[in-house]
């Protein structure tokens, strides 16, 4: 026996989940297309299907792609590390030590969210090149990418840590843990999922960033800039192959995560029943 209200509720729920799955299809269709096209003989007119793994062979032969991948990884890891470090310290500072400047600190950390990547790219290019006289290099690219990364990391960590009970840290300190020790023993084990999330997001943003990196690197290749550069002659199938490999790795990671969640080995911060 279900009432009208219950049935309406069930319908709403079903409609919402349908919207979610449609969104996933929309988001992943191009990804699947990339994977499909990476095996195609003709990447511009991939239909009807005809398969080859040439793109993968060329990918591993061509030093340009290895270079671009290495640079992209460096920028991603560097920017992810800088972002997560700065943002974590900032969030803990803001949450633990109330101050009348709190609003100002928040605005400072979140400001990059509201400045377009293009603007960050051209302004740091102009600043570095014309005022400091520095040519584009990996460090300036890491720094410029970390601006945006820090803001995203700050937002993600803040959203999670607002609910953190700092009395746990007080307890640890009462029992003799110095602040740094307390962070390692008590705070970090509790908050690591949000730090990991923040690192991942800032890594991805920097790894695949075109506009910030492009203006800060000059001739140094990254994956997005190689893609951008090859546009004039049509996209290289090697890029599709590389993207397919990246996505394969990501899907494996997600599958592992799903299994871990399913079996309840790791809960990723979920505390419900």
């Amino acid at each position: 026996m279900t009432s009208v209200g219950d049935r309406a509720e069930a319908w709403r729920r079903r409609a919402m989940s349908l919207l979610l799955w449609l969104l996933y299809i929309f988001l992943y269709a191009p990804i699947l297309y990339v994977i499909y096209a990476s095996f195609s003989v003709d990447i511009v007119w991939p239909f009807p299907p005809s398969f080859t793994t040439d793109a993968y062979a060329e990918l591993f032969d061509n030093a340009l792609y290895a270079d671009a991948l290495a640079n992209s990884l460096l920028i991603g890891l560097g920017s992810g590390a800088v972002s997560t470090l700065l943002a974590t310290a900032g969030v803990i500072g803001v949450l633990r030590y109330p101050s009348r400047h709190r609003g100002l600190i928040l605005i400072a950390f979140l400001a990059p969210l509201f400045v377009a990547e293009l603007l960050i790219g051209i302004s740091s290019l102009a600043f570095n090149a014309r005022l400091l006289g520095l040519p584009g290099n990996l460090f300036s690219a890491i720094a410029a990418n970390a601006v945006e990364g820090t803001a995203f990391a700050f937002l993600i960590i803040l959203a999670q840590l607002v609910r953190y009970d700092w009395q746990m840290d007080d307890a640890a300190m009462v029992f003799g843990a110095a602040p740094v020790r307390c962070f390692w023993e008590v705070t970090l084990p509790t908050i690591w999922p949000s730090l990991l999330g923040a690192f991942l997001i800032s890594f991805i943003l920097a790894f695949n960033n075109l506009e910030i990196s492009f203006y800060n690197l000059g001739a140094i290749p990254t994956l997005p800039s190689v893609a951008w550069g090859s546009l004039r002659f049509g996209l290289g199938p090697e890029l599709f192959a590389l993207a397919a490999l990246t996505n394969g790795l990501v899907f494996v990671l997600f599958a592992v995560m799903y299994v871990l969640m399913r079996t309840g080995i790791v809960r990723f911060g979920y505390r419900g029943g």
Binding site: M1, T2, S3, V4, G5, D6
Partner: protein
């Protein structure tokens, strides 16, 4: 008033059950509550009392059974069509609305005209002594004030009844005692039934006309508050309500409803509940205040021939304010506690005392 007549019942539950998989949170509850009753659902956590309240509110659907409010079957009605008031444990005030906006919320949902709304608001603010707080936000109020706003919101729309889910659990002791008296006063003034869920027996006893003691999804006992307190029907009720000494022994004889109870070499004459026969293992529970402590000086006066009497030594006195608990060690090594006024204790710690109580006190259950 031992159970309201079905015709005048404001709330009537008929074999209401709620099963979560194999768990029977609420299991076949029948209940009628009258128009002028303050009714409490008392039980430990997990006893199903909150689920039952949520079923009455319409927030939870019963797996079986019917819910009637003022004669109308509301089982199929969603909560927002039931016209009841509810006060939640953590107040659940809308943080983005002012005190006044929170309180008039139910009236706005019923599309009551502004003038009438303002008039009701003034009434509710006065009733709950919230004058001057109308423009504040919930996070600018003290716990007690939030509780009053929550009550005002529950009462403003003249609901058919008010449901209260452990509303005092988050208040400090003093405030709780004050609110207990207040809440009962509102119920008597407004003359609508209040259904009050609590795990705190003191609250239930202070405020209620009738109490249902709940465990494992069923009622252990339903009755007027002194019945539940003085004449517990089950061992669980006797343990849960009030503070009792527990004596484990066995039944020697049963005669005319009176039990001769054998306990560590003594024979006590006690009343009983339920089926019981000679030779049964049994528990005897007697409330602290039912035992009288007397100095050994009164030993010669044996005018208590019809009652029970035990000799021992006063080990300690736990001072409680108006009353005190007297911890008495008996010769057999057991300890019994008696409660009496703290003012006139004439016995000192370490002195010999005798413990007495009439044959009608306490209750014996088969274990």
């Amino acid at each position: 008033m031992a159970g309201a007549d079905l015709k005048t019942a404001s709330l009537s539950l008929q074999s209401v059950s709620r099963h979560f998989g194999p768990i029977r949170a609420v299991d076949g509850i029948d209940l009628d509550i009258g128009q002028d009753e303050f009714f409490s659902l008392l039980g430990p956590s997990g006893s199903g009392k909150t689920t039952l309240l949520r079923i009455i509110a319409g927030l939870e659907r019963p797996s079986a059974g019917r819910v009637r409010v003022a004669g109308q079957d509301v089982t199929e009605l969603p909560p927002y069509k039931r016209r009841i008031g509810m006060v939640f444990q953590n107040f659940l005030l809308f943080p983005h609305k002012t005190v006044a906006e929170n309180i008039v919320f139910p009236l706005r949902m019923q599309n009551v005209a502004r003038a009438a709304r303002d008039e009701r608001l003034r009434w509710a603010m006065k009733l709950l002594r919230l004058e001057g707080l109308a423009a504040r936000y919930p996070n600018e109020l003290s716990g007690g004030q939030q509780q009053r706003v929550s009550l005002a919101r529950g009462l403003i729309a003249r609901p058919a009844m008010l449901l209260l889910d452990e509303p005092l659990a988050n208040l400090d002791r003093e405030l709780r005692a004050e609110m207990e008296v207040e809440i009962r006063r509102y119920q008597k003034e407004l003359n609508i039934p209040f259904v009050y869920v609590t795990h705190n027996q003191e609250e239930a006893l202070t405020m209620s006309d009738r109490i249902a003691v709940m465990r494992g999804g069923v009622f252990e006992q339903v009755g007027p508050r002194d019945d539940v307190y003085r004449r517990p029907k089950t061992e669980f009720v006797a343990t849960f309500v009030g503070q009792s000494n527990r004596l484990s022994g066995f039944v020697e004889t049963v005669k005319n409803g009176a039990v001769a109870f054998a306990w560590q070499g003594h024979t006590l004459h006690v009343p009983h509940q339920g089926d019981i026969a000679a030779g049964d293992k049994a528990q005897f529970l007697i409330k602290y205040e039912d035992i009288e402590v007397a100095g050994a000086a009164g030993k010669g006066r044996s005018d208590h021939r019809s009652g029970n009497s035990l000799e021992g030594r006063l080990r300690d006195i736990i001072f409680k304010g108006q009353t005190a608990n007297y911890i008495v060690s008996l010769a057999n090594g057991a300890e019994l506690i008696a409660s009496a006024s703290s003012r006139d204790h004439k016995v000192g710690i370490g002195e010999a005392v005798s413990l007495r109580w009439p044959e009608t006190s306490g209750m014996c259950f088969r274990s």
